[in-house]
Amino acid sequence: MGLFGQFFSSGDFQPHGFCYAWNARLVWLHVISDVLIAASYFAIPVVLLWLARKRRDIPFSWLFLLFGAFIVACGTTHLMEVWNLWHAQYWLAGAVKALTAVASVGTAVVLARTIPQLVRVPNLTEWVKANADLEIRIAQRTKELRESNEALQQNRETLGLAQKAARMGAWDRDITTGRSTWTAELEEVFGVQPGAYNDHSHIWPNLVHPDDLPAVDKAVAESLKQVSEFSSEFRIIRPDGEQRWICARGNVIRDGQGQPHRMVGVNIDITERKLAEEQIRLLNASLESRVAERTRDLTNANNELESFSYSISHDLRAPLRTIDGFSLALLEDCSDKLDEAGKGHLQRIRAAAQRMGALIDDLLNLSRVTRTQLNSQTFDLSAVVSDVARELQATQPGRHIAWKIQSGVLATGDSHLLRVAIENLLNNAWKFTSRRAEASIEFGKTQDNGASAFFVKDDGAGFDPTYADRLFGAFQRLHAATEFPGTGVGLATVQRVVHRHGGRIWAESTVDQGATFYFTLPQIDSPGATA
């Protein structure tokens, strides 16, 4: 009998039931127990396999297979136990056991090696917690993403609004491919269809005004060459034919190798600014020409006035001198041939000549106020008033005038012209107080509506306020020449002096109650020049 035959032969062995002395109870105890064990051992791997197939995510599923094999082997050994109760194929049972041993040892070894990995596998609670954490984090990230998306959208809208408001738009051009991206706002500025601007080299030359194109191209080329900022102003002609002014700013962006590969920037519609500038330029030009014209007219008028005054000064007085001189000569040389009436006539002729001489002098002074250049300085006006008062008093030392001159009053203006003004005002006060045995003349500075005004006040004849507006006109007199002499040019001169300083003059009076003349000099109210 070969090895195979021996394997399945009972040989000389007794069946295993023999060992139990064929005690029926004992035999059935073993049979039933072994069969149940085997059945269970065969059922467990099926369940394990089913689980492994269902839950492919479970780690180490191959371990289930190993366990399955090992348990099936164990179950088989138990079936062999039952079989050998009646048969004595112990070699076969030994072989099955040996196989089971191999599967058991293998499983034990593999399991021992896998234990450290198995230990690291988290348990279900941990899995659940980790999962929940993950959920929370995912929710959080999603929220963040949504928020940043919203912010981005908002930014985009704000940028869009800003671009619209500024009439500007952005562009981005790939230098190598020539492809351009324009924002919707830029398309609007250039009046092109959305997405139409895709081929720079073909569309651009048709949009830019032909006169400006070379300059723009040059600026772009220069910017690319220098890898520097680009800035240019030029006109465009939109597809609808409208012409607009554009201010373009851009920059060159290098790639990883440092080579320029993109140009990005903004174009701003500056048409309105350009139009305004042009308008301002035109206005300025017309203003300049008008100023030049006015200056020319004024210069001419001034020159005419100058030669006119010069001629009056020289030529008009000479005949008066002749009239006066020869009238006196007549009176002296021919007095014996003239009666009193004749002498009286000659006196009238002389008086008239002299009055006209005085008129000419006053007129010349008046025109001189206009003709002379203002030399402004700050000086002691009180000192000037005192000086003029002294001179007046010297002409008639017998008159009793109480001079009340506020000291230290400073004025800013032309000291020569302001002296002329003070002379005229004090002369007036002196003249119109001449009928009083005792009079007072006052000078000082007062506040009028917050502005400081200088004043000259007397208690003389005064004037009727009804005619106050005629006071400052040349040759206007409110008193008869016989009452108070004068040419009527004095106050006109004062007014002209004050006006030339940008000041104001006015007077208050009641008949026989005296008069007060006020005048302002705007410069004196400026900070640092106050008295």
């Binding site: 010069y310 000064s313 020289h314 007085r317 008066l320 001198r321 006066d324 001189g325 006196l328 002379t372």
Partner: protein
Amino acid sequence: MKNKQILLVEDNPDDEALTVRALKKSNVANGIVVVRDGVEAVDYLFCEGPFAVTGPRPLPQVVLLDLKLPKLDGLGVLRRIRADARTRLLPVVILSSSDEEEDRIQGYSLGANSYVRKPVNFEQFLEAAAQLGLYWLVLNEPPVIRNI
């Protein structure tokens, strides 16, 4: 005896008559020479043209110079007087109708010794002439008396 001659440069015959009358009344001059335009004044002073003489002739004590003159005006005459070494120090009084600042500044700038405005009132004119004569012919000591 001092040379008390006055040279009056005046084109207006009325003014000439009145000035001569006033100077005579003041009784200070023993001679008044009148020339009637600027060229004549220069010719007289430098003994040229119609005034060329053989022998030396004394310069006037003072020149009374009007500004508005035919041919060469008063300032032109003054310029010629001051430019010539012989007359550089000659007293010149401008006697003018005008008191324009421009005239006064130019007159003094060119070396006038005095500037007097002729008043309309003849009495004042007389007084001015008297004072002028007294000052320039009696009180004032000229730098040098020389002939030309």
